[in-house]
């Protein structure tokens, strides 16, 4: 058994588990997108980021691919994690604004604007379809091609693949090409309709729905309890933030 700490909670994990699996086992929620049970972990969407380590050495890691280590300190909801997660959602939104899955994520995590050029690629390169095809459907019909900004998913030579059995598994699992957002403002880049509807269809209330939000999101409710050593530092930081705001 491996002992580690998640959000201050002492937990035990089996050798070979990932942080995500451990957190799930203990009922702690970490949002995921490119991770699905039954498929290998790919670490493509970075939504499942958590902060590992303490103090200035703390770094971000994707929990779906990071194996547990003895004595690891994991925090799943720090400000840094939340802000980075928002950034990832914003980036994905700029790639595939028509996806309901991603619009829902945006509402859920308080992403209300997209500062990037909207590209409408209808694919966020999460690789779910590739893994679904290869690992569950026994086909090897589609895969990643090219690299950098030209990277795309396709069949060999962009023609109908002999290996495809037309099972539809790739479409079933794709977060970008299944459900289209049907909200009242669905054709804007960020819909956020779920946020303004009453009752809201979100299963999650975050600081966006907090009455303090417009006053500068104090964040008290999401910040972990300050540990003794760096409580001073945190107090200082929040003071600075307030000043800046």
């Amino acid at each position: 058994m491996i002992n580690l700490k998640i959000n201050g909670l002492e937990v035990k994990a089996e050798e070979g588990w990932t942080i995500l699996e451990t957190a799930k086992f203990y009922g702690l929620e970490i949002p995921t997108l490119c991770y699905k049970e039954g498929l290998s972990a790919y670490g493509g969407c970075r939504l499942c980021l958590v902060e590992i380590g303490e103090g200035p050495k703390a770094k971000l890691a994707s929990s779906c691919t990071y194996p547990v280590e003895e004595g690891l300190v994991v925090r799943t909801d720090t400000r840094r994690v939340i802000e980075t997660r928002r950034m990832m959602i914003e980036l994905m939104l700029s790639l595939a604004p028509n996806s309901k899955t991603i619009q829902d994520l945006a509402s859920k995590f308080g992403v209300t604007k997209v500062r990037f050029k909207v590209r409408n690629e209808e694919c966020i390169l999460c690789g779910l379809c590739v893994r679904m095809c290869a690992e569950q459907m026994g086909g090897r019909a589609i895969g990643f091609q090219n690299r950098g900004h030209k990277r795309k998913i396709s069949t060999p030579f962009d023609i109908k693949s002999e290996e495809c059995r037309l099972c539809g598994g790739c479409m079933y699992i794709c977060p970008a090409c299944q459900l289209k957002c049907q909200g009242p403002e669905a054709d804007t880049t960020v819909c956020n309709a779920c946020l303004t509807m009453d009752p809201t269809c979100l299963d999650y209330y975050d600081e966006l729905q907090c009455w303090m939000y417009n006053v500068g999101r104090c964040g008290t409710c999401v910040r972990e309890k300050p540990e003794k050593s760096d409580s001073k530092e945190q107090a200082q930081k929040s003071k600075e933030k307030q000043k800046n705001a």
């Binding site: 290869a134 019909a141 895969g143 091609q145 090219n146 060999p156 030579f157 693949s161």
Partner: protein, 156 residues
């Protein structure tokens, strides 16, 4: 160009049918045909038992491989940071004008393919241009004509 199965097979036997030699095999095929013909990749896939999509993934990942026929001569202009500062964009433009093709394409007569690369690791002698493996250091717009002439002649 006709793809001969035997030729491809011999490229593969040379590496003992090892899957991990895929890149070397693709390099040999490219050497032979100047590009990677679709038919050849099918043969490699069947003989080695690697899914075709994985081979295409490798072939499209590296800029050195081309899935389209290339010209007899390959002109590569470095547009990496160091060469860029020293005027590589102008040189590339000059090549485009002289050959009447855009970067990444092949001339109509099948003589020249024009490509770009981001840094060759020899920035000190930039701007660098490579034609068929010959390096030209400190090139300038004025040298473009001479370089092309030299290689046009060679084939005749």
């Amino acid at each position: 160009m006709e793809v001969e199965e035997l030729k491809i097979k011999s490229c593969i036997t040379k590496y003992n049918y090892e899957k991990k030699a895929l890149i070397s095999i693709l390099q040999d095929i490219q050497e032979e045909y100047n590009y990677l013909p679709q038919e050849a990749l099918n043969i490699v896939s069947k003989t080695l038992g690697i899914p075709l999509i994985d081979i295409v993934g490798v072939a499209t990942f590296y800029r050195a491989f081309s899935l389209e026929p290339r010209g007899k001569h390959l002109v590569t202009v470095c547009v990496g940071t160091a060469c860029h500062i020293r005027g590589a964009p102008n040189i590339l433009e000059e090549f485009e004008r002289k050959l009447n093709v855009k970067a990444g394409k092949t001339t109509g007569d099948g003589q020249f393919s024009l490509e770009t690369v981001a840094c060759l690791g020899c920035c000190a002698i930039g701007p660098v241009v490579i034609v068929d493996g010959n390096y030209y250091a400190q090139t300038s717009i004025r040298k473009v004509d001479a370089i092309l002439k030299k290689h046009r002649k060679k084939k005749k």
